[in-house]
Amino acid sequence: MAFSEGNLADHLGALSYSEEQIELMDVATNFCRDRSPIDKVRKLIEDEHGYDPAVWQEIVDLGWLGIAVPEAQGGVGLSMAEVAPIAEQMGRRLLATPFATCTIAAQALLAAGDEAQCAEWLPRIVAGEVATLALTEPHGDWDLGHVEATAKASGDGYVLSGTKQFVVYAQHAALVIASVTVEGAVRLALIERSAIPDSALRREIIIDETKRSYELTLDGITIPASALLDAGRSGTALTQIELASALLQAAEMCGGTQSAIDYTIEYLKTRKQFGKLIGEYQALKHPITNAYVGYEKARSHMLSAAHNFGQQGVGEIAVRMAKASADKAYSFAADRAVQFHGGFGFTHDCDAGLYRRSAIWHASQYGDAAWHRAKLADLLF
């Protein structure tokens, strides 16, 4: 895209919202607040399963997994724009479920699945069966096209090999969508959980303790030929996955940023030192204000990304800006949250740490701010 004249902003996406989005925002705000009070978040950290199946079932019953799935496949037929406000509220309350991975898996199917694959999996995902992605490899590259895992033809199927990391909620997944190379070309493969032996999964210790993630050893796993997604559309699918992930992460991060700021403000308004509320000191007041300004900017980017998501070009710019600015805003707000809680901030009991760890987690998955800015430079200049 080339901007020849005038103000940059004229060439970028504008902001708007849908009635459905606002409705979902309201419902999600109350739902996530009620279902995910912070003591529950902390209890689930100790829990092997990692999320509350009853809450998951409620989410399924609310129809949230089908929001961006066409009606023909059992979905609601809206778009990612309407999913974003839900992710935002989940991030705000640190409500952990496989909501994001299921949503993204559905997007991947829609981008590159054939009729049979979509008909098989989309209704099951909408009905609450967990799906997840296996894209990352030990080299740690955010470039989703950098794939070393392979699928080799064998009989009427394929034998896989390689290692995938950060396969979120793999233990509970019915479906894992993995990237592999087939004769040098990157493809996406649908792996049913039943084809994955327990020994192939290792629970990873990850920075965000509210989530569950696994390393998956593909060696020896076999899939039928019908489990490969369309070869011609795998590039598109990877882009769709990257952008959908970035949008949902940006939303989740905005919610988390909001909480980190609110949580810190509460402390600044109650903690006294030298006979004053610490919130009177500008050394704290100004940085928290800067954090707030950063949050509102990130939220505007996120809402614009949601609104422009499907638009060629404009959508990608908006989404990358959203993830990059959410990363910056969340990191800063959560970092100051730790500092401004003093000694307590350094403890595991202080929620500031939960937000700081969550921000690091999000930066580590699907690209941090600098990565997305580098992509943006190519798109903008």
Binding site: L8, A9, L15, Y17, I22, K269, G279, Y292, V293, S300
Partner: protein, 404 residues
């Protein structure tokens, strides 16, 4: 106020405005135009901007939503919003009489008397009467409530003594919105303040131009020595000054929609900065090839886009539920700081030529970038410094305690 227009009416109006601004927006006048009303320095700039404002007003695109009986267009505010949007689209020059149409005007429309509306509004809109603001004093800037210029009632007149400083357009203005002290009694320093719509051309009022950081002129110090102004210049009652001043600051800081329309601070052309980076050389290559520079530039583009989106979002109720005033109150802070940082960044592109300044034949763009950077402080200091803005956001939006 007239009823809400239909989308079709608005579209019609937009097409009209579009045609008008396309046709009438002046091309490069051949001298440097100011980015803000605070930068108006030469007669040439002043005359040009007065003429432009008058023309926009006469075409109906300024004060469009103010009542006809005071000189306005009597239309619904949505029309004015559109006119302003189109004005910006064509990158027209700024409205010079910012203090008049931007703050004094809305104030008079809100709480002024019938006589005040009749007397002042039209002259503001057509740029016949330029207004200035006498708030800051040599000893009291951020601490505005401590203003000391004395106003003592004497029959039908007030007698003024003291000094105001940093008065933008002070040497060009016909009227001043003036914050003065009418009493030293009262429970606190704010209680003794009063607000005047004061003439500037009265015996005993003198101005002295102050040379700015940029080397230009633009603001003055005003001296009041037994200056007499009519008692009806008092706005509201004695002692109301602080509340009224705060109201004008709401307009000034962008917390309220400026009802007359137009705009007073020009957007920096972001693509111009990109272009500059593209044309600048480092090690024989375009500067924009340098990944570090590129990265910083993207960061600025994101910031600019965020501020534009914020501006759109602040009018969308459901998207600002949590802290409805947040976006409005941060607008000035975020935008002015961004412009300061971006113009500073642009100086680094110029290599050795960064050493030149305005009017040297070798200066890049005749020193535009240097001048813009130096001038950018006008907006991070004027109208309440960025530090004070942060206090305001912290206290009024985030609910943090006031510092003592």
């Amino acid at each position: 106020m007239s009823s809400r227009p239909t989308p079709a009416e608005l579209a019609d109006y937009e097409a009209q405005a579009d045609a008008w601004f396309r046709e009438n927006t002046p091309k490069d006048p051949g001298f440097m135009l100011p980015l803000t009303f605070m930068e108006v320095s030469t007669d040439q700039q002043f005359d040009f901007l007065c003429a432009w404002q008058r023309k926009v007003y006469e075409a109906g695109y300024l004060g469009a939503s103010w009542p006809v009986e005071y000189g306005g267009g009597g239309l619904h505010p949505d029309f004015q919003r559109i006119a302003t949007k189109v004005m910006k689209k064509y990158d027209g020059p700024i409205m010079l009489n910012a203090i008049g149409i931007g703050w004094a005007g809305p104030l008079i429309m809100d709480i002024g008397s019938e006589e005040e509306k009749k007397k002042y509004i039209k002259g503001m809109l057509n740029a016949e009467d330029i207004w200035c603001q006498g708030f800051s004093e040599p000893e009291n800037g951020s601490d505005l409530g401590n203003a000391q210029l004395k106003a003592v009632r004497d029959g039908d007149e007030y007698v003024l003594n003291g000094s105001k400083i940093w008065t933008s357009l002070g040497d060009r203005a016909k009227y001043m919105i003036l914050l003065a002290r009418t009493s030293n009694e009262g429970p606190n320093k704010y209680a003794g303040l009063s607000f005047f719509l004061s003439p500037m051309h009265a015996p005993g009022i003198e101005t002295r131009r102050i040379k700015k950081l940029t080397g230009e002129y633009g603001f003055v110090q005003c001296f009041f020595t037994d200056a007499r102004i009519p008692a009806e210049c008092l706005m509201g009652n004695e002692g109301d000054g602080w509340q009224i001043a705060m109201k004008t600051l709401e307009y000034e800081r962008g917390a309220k929609v400026n009802l007359a329309g137009g705009y007073f601070l020009k957007e920096l052309d972001a693509m111009g900065v990109v272009e500059l980076a593209r044309q600048s050389q480092r090690g024989g290559k375009p500067l924009l090839d340098d990944p570090v520079m590129k990265d910083r530039m993207v960061d600025f583009m994101m910031d600019i886009q965020a501020l534009n989106l914020n501006n759109q979002r602040r009018r969308m109720g459901p998207l600002v539920q949590d802290r409805p005033m947040g976006l409005a109150l941060m607008n000035k802070l975020a935008r002015t700081e961004m412009i300061r940082e971006l113009t500073e960044f642009s100086l680094s592109f110029q290599g050795t030529r960064g050493g030149y300044y305005v009017d040297d034949p070798c200066a890049v763009d005749n020193g535009y970038w240097h001048r813009s950077y130096l001038n950018s402080f006008s907006a991070t200091i004027g109208g309440g410094t960025s530090e004070i803005q942060r206090n305001i956001i912290a206290e009024h939006v985030l609910g943090l305690p006031k510092g003592r």
